[in-house]
């Protein structure tokens, strides 16, 4: 039974970066903005958190700074798209390319630095309880944070007035503007939140999951998170299911390698990417379902005049 508990712990950990990044992007898209820069923001969050953890010796301060750095970076995107009215697809790509370049540039001296990362919880007496101990008390603290974030996003979007306004901005910015809501300011805030979440995702990878810094260490998780939002048809609870499914695919790949399965490691490593493509195709097939669930103004520019 302990093995099962261990597998659950590892699956949740593998899915957690996707939870952070996809929940953030979900809120951004709910406000009608498509930010393709998740991968870049994650990498900047990762290196910022790693540098702080290495220099200041505090991984928690690193997590905070990682989220902050990615949130700041997201505002470059926001200014170009929301104020200067550029194409969201092109600007998001620019953000990803810029983030990849920036993180590689400032991260070079930290390539082989070792830090003391954030460890899984070990509550005396509780985490060692048979069966449930590890399942309930044995996760990394950031895993609990990601679950709290899920609950917060769910409640915010479905149960608060501010969440309703944010969704209105994403569905019909014209109407939201007409009844007096500051559409552009709300979209700025949503992009800022998405940036902070992507930063948390990167920070989790750099100071808790691995913990180390490798160039391009997100390995496409930012793009998978974008696919996950579509897969989840813009519903937070389905983001969680999708993220943990992908976590288990990642895990299965490592387990198969460790078990010495006679398939080359490179072919096993293709699994998460192939799975993303297949799942995206299956879910997108139902065009009506996508149209009904996607925020109506997603990716479309809106300028109140």
């Amino acid at each position: 039974m302990n093995e099962i508990a261990q597998i659950v712990v590892l699956t949740l950990a593998a899915g957690t970066p996707l939870v952070f990044a996809a929940l953030g992007e979900l809120v951004v898209e709910k406000a009608g903005v498509l930010n393709l820069g998740v991968e870049g923001m994650m990498l900047v969050g990762a290196i910022a958190s790693f540098i702080v953890a290495a220099k200041a010796g505090s991984p928690w301060l690193g997590v905070f700074v990682g989220a902050l750095a990615a949130a700041l970076l997201s505002q470059i995107f926001a200014v170009i798209v929301l104020t200067l009215r550029a194409n969201q697809v092109a600007t998001g790509l620019a953000l990803s390319l810029f983030g990849i370049g920036l993180s590689a540039f400032i991260g070079r001296p930290f390539m082989s630095v070792v830090i003391d990362g954030i460890k899984p919880l070990a509550v005396p007496g509780l985490s060692t309880m048979p069966l449930v101990g590890k399942l309930i008390f044995g996760h990394n603290p950031l895993v609990y944070l990601s679950i709290a974030l899920f609950l917060a996003v769910q409640v915010f979007l479905q149960r608060t007035r501010a969440g309703l306004v944010l969704r209105a901005v994403g569905e019909s910015p014209q109407s939201a503007h007409a009844i007096g809501y500051p559409v552009i300011a709300i979209r700025y805030a949503a992009v800022l939140f998405g940036g902070a979440c992507a930063g948390l995702a990167g920070a989790f990878l750099a100071v808790a999951y691995t913990p180390s810094w490798v160039e391009g260490m997100t390995a496409g998780r930012g793009w998978i998170a974008l696919a996950l939002v579509v897969f989840a048809s813009w519903k937070p609870w389905r983001v969680m299911i999708g993220a943990y499914l992908f976590g288990s695919v990642t895990l299965a790949q490592f387990q198969a390698q460790a078990a010495g399965v006679a398939v080359p490691s490179q072919l096993l490593a293709m699994l998460p990417y192939v799975a993303t493509v297949v799942v995206l195709a299956l879910i997108s097939r139902d065009a009506t379902m996508i149209r009904l669930n996607a925020p109506a103004s997603l990716g479309k520019p809106y300028h109140p005049e």
């Binding site: 870049g40 170009i80 200067l84 590689a104 993303t276």
Partner: protein
């Protein structure tokens, strides 16, 4: 006083072409700040970054050599981008092109096919490989409505892993001291050198030819016109009966074919064998080249020179300034940011108004 943006009745032709210059100048300004922040004398750094790499005949040849794949890929991508087909997986299509073209070279081996036969066979195989890799997102988009941005990008990782497996496994050179690399290509599988004592090869001519053909297609062929219409106004294109499925297929396949050709050019040119990585991100840099070149063949040719200079400058900065060569990626991203920001001037007139 506050700034207001007034929509122009027609896009400004002046700013369509000055925006890239503004972006390049702004990127230089950022470079000034970055170099100063790292305690380098900015003037010496600029010299090392932008002047020294192309001060020699060899340097100019390197500039053209690195511009070739960028020009080639960006030209192919631009055909799709004009029709709002967002192929961002050119890096993977380049890799598949290198695998297919390199596979032909390795299969023929020392069988001494004449280059006039072998090289075209490699390029046909490479273009087919790139097109195959681009056909997957095209099919998924037209058949399953799956977003081509995400699927084409995912396939980059799959292609990289496929190449890595090949050079670690079945295609590894048995006499290569266990390094992950294929056999070195036979001499008749290598592109002829254009300028003696440099690495500039016939791939450059191929790139120029493709740019010219693409220009003819976009400007003079009815299908090129229809794809531009679809990009400018999807509604009008639909009303006129222009098939969006055909646009997606053509847009993706054009990008895939060009990226595949670029992959063969790299394998049969400066590299000369298959390695785990066949490109320092040309497939992604070409996206920037396409935008900075305004999706126009002539603009793309110029932008590819600029981007090539950023690559050379990054290498030079590593050697002469002890700065990580990743500074190239930083400048590439900055350039695209500034371009997209400067583009506001194309469609809007900034006005200071009393609030």
């Amino acid at each position: 006083m506050r700034l207001r943006l007034e929509a122009r009745p027609v896009p400004s032709r002046v700013y369509v072409w000055t925006a890239p210059l503004i972006a390049a100048l702004a990127t230089l300004a950022v470079g000034f700040v970055v170099f100063s922040a790292f305690g380098k004398n900015p003037l010496a750094a600029f010299d090392a970054f932008f002047i020294a790499p192309i001060a020699t005949r060899y340097g100019v040849a390197e500039l053209l050599l690195k511009a070739s794949p960028l020009m080639l890929i960006a030209t192919g991508l631009a055909i799709g981008y004009r029709a709002n087909v967002w192929n961002i997986g050119a890096e993977g299509q380049l890799t598949l092109g290198a695998i297919a073209g390199g596979g032909v070279a390795l299969a023929v081996g020392d069988a001494l096919w004449p280059p006039v036969l072998l090289l075209p066979a490699m390029f046909v195989a490479g273009a087919a490989g790139g097109m195959l890799w681009a056909a997957i997102p095209a099919w998924l988009r037209t058949r399953f409505n799956a977003n081509e941005i995400l699927t084409s990008l995912m396939l980059v990782y799959v292609a990289t892993l496929l190449l890595s497996w090949l050079v670690h496994g079945p295609w590894r050179d048995p006499e290569g001291y266990n390094f992950p690399q294929s056999k070195i290509f036979a001499a008749n599988a290598m592109l002829p050198i254009l300028l003696p004592e440099t690495r500039l090869n016939a791939g450059f001519l191929l790139a120029l030819a493709v740019v010219a053909i693409a220009w003819l297609f976009v400007r003079k062929h009815i299908v090129g016109f229809e794809m531009r219409v679809a990009g400018l106004s999807p509604g009008a294109a639909n009303y006129a009966g222009i098939s969006w499925r055909r646009n997606i297929w053509l847009g993706m396949l054009a990008g895939g074919a060009c990226a595949g050709l670029a992959g063969v050019s790299e394998a049969a040119g400066p590299i000369g064998q298959l390695l785990p990585s066949m490109s320092p991100g040309y497939g992604f840099a070409a996206i920037i080249v396409a935008f900075v070149g305004r999706l126009h063949p002539a603009g793309i040719a110029l932008a590819s020179l600029l981007m090539s200079l950023l690559y050379l400058g990054g290498e030079s900065a590593q050697v002469n300034l002890a700065l990580p060569s990743a500074v190239t990626g930083l400048f590439q991203g900055t350039l695209l940011f500034f371009l997209l920001a400067a583009d506001v001037l194309v469609n809007y007139r900034p006005r200071m108004v009393l609030a």
